[in-house]
Amino acid sequence: MATVPAVVDNSLEDPRRRAPLVLGENDFTTVTEKVCAIAERPRPPREWYIAFAISASLAAVLLAMLGHLFLTGIGVWGLNMPVAWGFDITNFVFWVGIGHAGTLISAILFLFRQKWRTAINRFAESMTIFAVICAGLFPAVHVGRPWLAYWLFPLPNQMQMWPNFRSPLLWDVFAVSTYFTVSLLFWYVGMIPDLATLRDRATTRIRSVVYGILSLGWRGSGRHWHRYERAYLLLAALATPLVLSVHSVVSFDFAVSQLPGWHTTIFPPYFVAGAIFGGFAMVLTLLIPIRSYLDLGELVTTRHLENMAKIVLATGMMVGYAYGMEFFIAWYSGNPYESFAFVNRALGPYAWAYWTMIFCNVIAPQLLWWRRARTTPWMLWGVAVLVNVGMWFERFVIIVTSLSRDYLPSSWGYFKPTWVDLLTLAGSFGLFFMLFLLFLRFVPMFAIAEVKSVMPAGGLEIGPHHGHGQYWGEIPHQHDRQFGEEGA
């Protein structure tokens, strides 16, 4: 099997000389070994425990805050009458947004046959699941009487009442729950072969039982692979419009309303772009440290990082464009309320939030025009973190500034978060990282089978290809091989 020395920089995109996606002295055996070893360690390193302890205790704080909230009332948050939504919905939109990169990477890049996705999709998909869990939490607890939140579902009842399907919030309910279900299926289906690998490598009884059950009896059968690939392709095809719809629907919460600053048609595309932007940033934020800590440079190569950096830059530009366009339309519409809403954003009491957002989402990503920034992990990471901050503030700005000053100056107000608001936000991060650390601990963090299938040895001399890391009509492995030989 041809292999490539690690020294090769595969981040050049040269159509004639397609670079390999896995570097180093790697074959199926070693790749499997590398990935599984992480999940198979009898006990993870101390760092893992430290990280877990921190995030778990934050998650506990979240629980306490929710308890406090349920027992006392929404008033424990800083909300008031003009500003009836604050951190709660901001966090919701933020987390849903984070989720999107996962589906995007696994589904859309898949359909576009971006084979480099294989190294990061498991990662991103897991992130999606956890982010959506965090997101789903907020709509559920933000209501004044959470114990009645089930009224949002069309369940028959003695009142003979049904929910109001004209309400964007109800659309959210369906969108988010569908999104969660489909992402979960997609994630799990994608994991079956790898779970089987873990099962077959299992050395302890408990592991073989658990992985045995989870892998549903996978044995790499050709017939199974055949259906499996088709199913995966279909799921991808379904997930793609879904992911676009979900954030569009979330944006309807605002776009459909009356409020200056919310009531704009640009929201759906703008939100989707923002979601991808933030999502990729989050992938990078998580991936880069782990990559260096576990020394996974050969699987997650600089090329992967650079590709993601490019997407961040591109979506960042879109978001920046949207910011500008909002202002233009506000001015061009000639609607005084609309124009004031935006002037107020930039110069009003919440200017600090607005300019934080602009700096993080528009200025910072400009670094990525510079190749050094794209290929230097720590720089890229810095940008990614800023983008995460920026995207949270974007939602905060949209929601809070618009609400705080709407039509009647008499009812203008100002929102100040309380300690509960802040701890709840922190807690949601705790929950997210806790779940993520568990994932690192027990599940193969790379789609092993997929990674293998984009390795030279995975290629073959003849036959058409469908899906799953391979590409119709294209014959990449030859290139890889030549390149490999030259590189050698």
Partner: protein, 998 residues
């Protein structure tokens, strides 16, 4: 779930209820609504909560609600049906003048107070304090037992104990012909009390009777004496007045007859009769009256006499027969004041016989005298003003009286001091040190609702029966007598001044009812006959009891001294003016949470008073909004937060009285700042002070401009006001009434889909006339009482969580020094295309077939999305369970027809759907149509100026339909095409063509 809502309880009688142990326990429970600590993490309770949280989430399931009892009467009084509202007429006296009331009572508990349409001082309207009295009645902090204080020890006593002390003591006093007995009474117009006083003087000739009222109208009386040598009071009649000049007057709010005056004033502000009055107001601090004026002059109180004399001079110039002495202005004023005086004089002269000059209680006697003189010269008597004999005319002024008492106490000449009501220890002139002198009397007895500052200085505190619990009578400003009849058996026992005085004078101890019954009130000289009595109780007024007008004429020699004293200069330095507070008046209502939370009409500040300063003066003094300042007058000094308000005259600081109470009760204690220490007997209305900023800042909880607004906000607000409050000048409007509609043209935006048809037999709608609204806030309290609206407390208001369903927005226009003020009451607009409805995921707010935007509390899950989408921001959210600590006794104030909202539920104006439904059902039961005006929401019902009109839009002849079509009618934010059912009528102003805005 339903457990969270208040339970309707039935019981036989109140004393039975009062006997249950949990009642006692609940009564002693803390006052509710003040939820500050709920959001406060520090408390242990909170911490435990957080720990128990996870469990709590499990426990939130609902099963069958608790077993409910039905306790029917053992034997039912005739004509009493459980759960059926009955109205009784009674009256509330405030500072010696009465307003007639109708009190709605369910199962024997009064729940709602409204004005008595038959009463001349009410005409169906009721002021905010009057309506809030129902909360005062159920105030758990009211004292329940006599208290005895001796050598720093205090002991609760039974009534028997008190009588055991009082009877022999009073006998002793009678034996000594009342030597050493002093009685200090709050102002009272009660004919019965007057009658008993006579008896008392006979029985105890050496007893001395003193009166004290911190906000008295003595100067007015003094002025009359000056002008006529006779103690008369003026009863203005604004319905005929075309030009009104108010010299620091308080016609529309503070005046004892304000409700009637406001009605008459507004009647000619609508510009419909082809006529419109014009109001000139000069005042140091913006008041409701000033806000309603066409020309308002912000002028230090000390300069108003000079202004008055300039006006007199101006009138003389216009050929009005002004006495020689008054034909020259006393001294020069600044240009603005001069223009104002000139314009006022000109208009007064033109409208001779239909003009009126009134002076306010803060102004010295000579200004009042001048007003009398000029009114006579202008032929106001019999037209816009009538003089009647003051029922208690020969009394000395309150300040003299209380000073005299202080003197005798100091001299140790007072053995027994009996204080009937009031709170002299708190509000008497500071220089007298009355609080400490009370101790000099060997025996001091204080009769009052609360065990307040004065009670704590007295040997005995005797609980007073609330006016809704006791018999009495009192006169309105025009002298009309009303019988005050009890609505409910005294919750905690309690005596009335009548009973005490009767007991003191040794008259055979009768029930208060008999005392009242025996008083001749209708001028016939003999007690009312049975029929008359029943009639008086039913109507709430004693027919023919009004004071007859008297013919008076100005003494020639009066003009000279008056003119001489008008010239006295205002002097240097900052002038601190004492104001009656719109909520707590002189402090007596400090423990009333409804009033405490009621925003000040001008500053919109709740739960506080503050030193009101104009922007320019503030800049001069280097004082920020919300900064603590020290005010020093001589050796007296107070600290108070500054509140920068446009329209306060330069060099003036407004100090609302009645805050900083120390013994008001859990609600009122420590709220705001006590400014009485600056108030001294020789200058009870205004003092010169030195102002020093202290740098510390203080949170003023305001319901508008929740935080200091930045530049761009200000600018934008300025731009919008014109859109929101449409105004027109009377002259133009009269020329071309359609101009308003034309300029504003509300284009009917294209609908996305066919408009929905409303099937109902009626289509409810409302109009609010901005020309009539004077911003008095009565509607807000009416709504609060009618709809069980919770009180949330200062911290919550500061956070922006006030719950009022109808708020009176106040906007300033023009320069910060001389702003024009406009009020706009905003409640739910009941939009036909209501934005709130489509966003509610559970259909908790939907439209009724009669066009109401219904809010269904029990369906609401509390997403708050509706509020976000409401362009008017009129929805209110229960961020906490604001009724959590409401005691049983306070729950008696709940209106059983309105659901008590749970925590986490949105609420808003319903157009008083409970009233609509009850009228509809009754009509349908009797199979008769609903007459226009039969359904009146609480706000409209109590509006003194009838600015709010409600009715059926389907009936084209109904008043509301006509007003919807009125040329002044416009919809707020019409361009949103939400199709509000509530339309506003543009505000008309009537500036004099002569002067530019003064």
């Amino acid at each position: 779930m339903s457990g969270e809502n208040g339970k309707r309880a039935h019981w036989r009688s109140l004393d039975e209820l009062a006997d249950t142990p949990e009642f006692r326990e609940l009564v002693s429970a803390e006052f509710p609504g003040l939820e500050e600590d709920i959001a406060d993490p520090a408390t242990r309770r909170e911490f435990v909560k957080i720990l128990g949280a996870s469990l709590g989430m499990v426990g939130l399931t609902s099963c069958r609600w608790p077993k409910e009892m039905i306790l029917p009467f053992a034997s039912q009084p005739a004509g009493r049906a459980p759960g059926v509202a009955v109205q009784y007429a009674t009256a509330m006296e405030l500072c010696g003048a009465t307003v007639g009331l109708l009190v709605t009572s369910y199962d024997g508990r009064p729940v709602k107070i409204e004005g008595n349409p038959l009463h001349p001082a009410s005409l169906g309207a009721a002021s905010a304090p009057a309506q809030a009295a129902v909360l005062e009645l159920y105030d758990p902090a009211r004292s329940r037992q006599p208290v005895r204080r001796e050598g720093g020890k205090e002991a609760r006593q039974s009534w028997e104990d008190f009588d055991a002390f009082a009877t022999p003591h009073f006998n002793g006093l009678r034996a000594s012909r009342g030597r050493g007995l002093a009685i200090l009474s709050e102002a009272s117009s009660s004919p019965t009390l007057a009658r008993l006083r006579v008896g008392l003087v006979e029985a105890l000739p050496e007893a001395r009777w003193y009166g004290w009222e911190p906000l008295s109208r003595d100067n007015e009386l003094e002025g009359a004496r000056l002008a006529f040598g006779r103690s008369v009071r003026g009863v203005p009649d604004l319905s005929r007045a075309r030009v009104i000049v108010s010299l620091d007057g308080d016609l529309l709010a503070g005046h004892p007859d304000a409700l009637r005056l406001a009605r008459e004033f507004a009647a000619t502000r609508r510009g419909d009769g082809g006529e419109m009055n014009r109001l000139f107001a000069a005042e140091p601090v913006p008041s409701v009256t000033g806000a309603a004026a066409d020309h308002r002059l912000a002028l230090a109180a000390g300069s108003i006499p000079a202004l008055a004399s300039s006006i007199a001079a101006g009138l003389a110039a216009h050929g009005v027969a002004v006495p020689e002495a008054l034909r020259k202005p006393a001294r020069a004023l600044d240009a603005r004041a001069e223009r104002f005086a000139a314009a006022a004089a000109a208009d007064l002269a033109v409208a001779r016989g239909r003009s009126l000059i009134v002076a306010g209680p803060r102004q010295p006697a000579e200004v009042h005298a001048l007003a009398w003189i000029l009114n006579e010269a202008l032929g106001a008597f019999g037209a816009t003003l009538r003089a009647v004999d003051d029922p208690d005319g020969d009394r000395e002024s309150h300040v003299q009286s209380v000073t005299g008492l202080a003197g005798r106490l100091r001299a140790g000449e007072v053995e027994t001091l009996l204080i009937l009501g009031g709170n002299a220890a708190y509000d008497a002139p500071a220089d007298l040190g009355l609080a400490d002198l009370i101790g000099r009397a060997r025996v001091s007895i204080h009769l009052s609702l609360h065990d307040n500052e004065t009670s704590r200085r007295c040997a005995w505190h005797v609980p007073r029966a609330h006016f809704l619990e006791s018999w009495g009578d009192a006169r309105a400003w025009d002298g009309t007598v009303s019988v005050q009849q009890p609505l409910i058996e005294a919750l905690y026992g309690g005596r009335t001044p009548l009973e005490l005085v009767a007991a003191l004078s040794g008259a055979r101890v009768e029930s208060a009812r008999d005392l009242v019954r025996a008083t001749p009130t209708d001028g016939s000289g003999s007690p009312l006959g049975e029929a008359g009595w029943r009639r008086a109780l039913h109507d709430g007024v004693v027919e023919g009891s009004g004071l007859p007008p008297v013919r008076v004429s100005v003494r020639a020699e009066a003009a000279g001294p008056v003119a001489a004293r008008l010239g006295v200069g205002a002097g240097r330095g900052t002038e601190a003016v004492f104001l009656a507070d719109a909520s707590v008046h002189d402090g007596r209502f400090a423990n009333n949470a409804w009033l405490q939370e009621l925003p000040d009409p001008i500053t919109r500040v709740t739960w506080d008073n503050a030193a009101l300063v104009g922007p320019a003066t503030a800049a001069e003094l280097g004082v920020r909004h919300g900064e603590m300042v020290a005010l020093t007058a001589g050796e007296r000094s107070i600290e108070i937060a500054a509140c920068v308000v446009p329209g306060v005259a330069e060099g003036v600081i407004g100090l609302p009285l009645g805050y900083g109470r120390r013994a008001a009760g859990p609600v009122g204690d420590g709220v705001g700042f006590d400014v009485y220490p600056l108030r001294v007997s020789e200058a009870p209305h205004a003092v010169k002070v030195d102002v020093r900023g202290l740098g510390r800042s203080y949170v003023l909880a305001s319901t508008q401009d929740h935080h200091a607004i930045d530049a761009i906000g200000m600018e934008e607000r300025g731009r919008r006001i014109g859109e929101l409050i449409v105004e027109a000048e009377w002259a133009e409007y009269r020329r071309d009434p359609d101009a308003i509609r034309r300029e504003r043209h509300e284009p009917k935006p294209l609908a996305l889909f066919g408009e929905l048809e409303y099937g109902g037999d009626h289509q409810w709608g409302m109009t609010i006339d901005l020309s009539a609204c004077i911003g008095c806030n009565a509607c807000a309290v009416a709504c609060q009482a009618e709809n069980n609206i919770p009180v949330v407390g200062k911290k919550q208001v500061a956070r922006g969580r006030e719950m009022h369903w109808i708020r009176v927005d106040r906007y300033f226009k023009g320069s910060p020094e001389a702003p024009a003020v406009a009020f706009q009451p905003v409640a739910c607009q009941h939009c036909e295309n209501a934005p709130c409805e489509s966003v509610c995921p559970v259909a908790a707010t939907v439209h009724s077939s009669e066009g109401l935007n219904s809010m269904v509390y029990n369906r609401c899950v509390g997403t708050r999305y509706c509020s976000n989408n409401c362009p008017y921001k009129v929805r209110r959210f229960n961020y906490f369970n604001y009724f959590k600590r409401t005691s049983q006794v306070e729950k008696m104030a709940f209106n059983p027809d309105v659901t008590v909202r749970a925590r986490g539920v949105m609420e808003k104006c319903t157009f008083c759907v409970q009233r609509i439904e009850s009228v509809k059902i009754a009509a349908k039961n009797e199979r008769r149509p609903i007459a226009d005006g039969a359904i009146v929401p609480a706000c409209a019902q109590t509006c003194p100026t009838e600015a709010i009109v409600f009715g059926d839009l389907r009936d084209p002849s109904s008043r509301v339909s006509q007003l919807h079509r009125h040329p002044r009618a416009y919809s707020l934010l019409a361009e949103l095409n939400v199709q509000p059912r509530n339309r506003y009528l543009a505000k008309l102003r009537n500036p004099s063509s002569g002067a530019e805005e003064a």
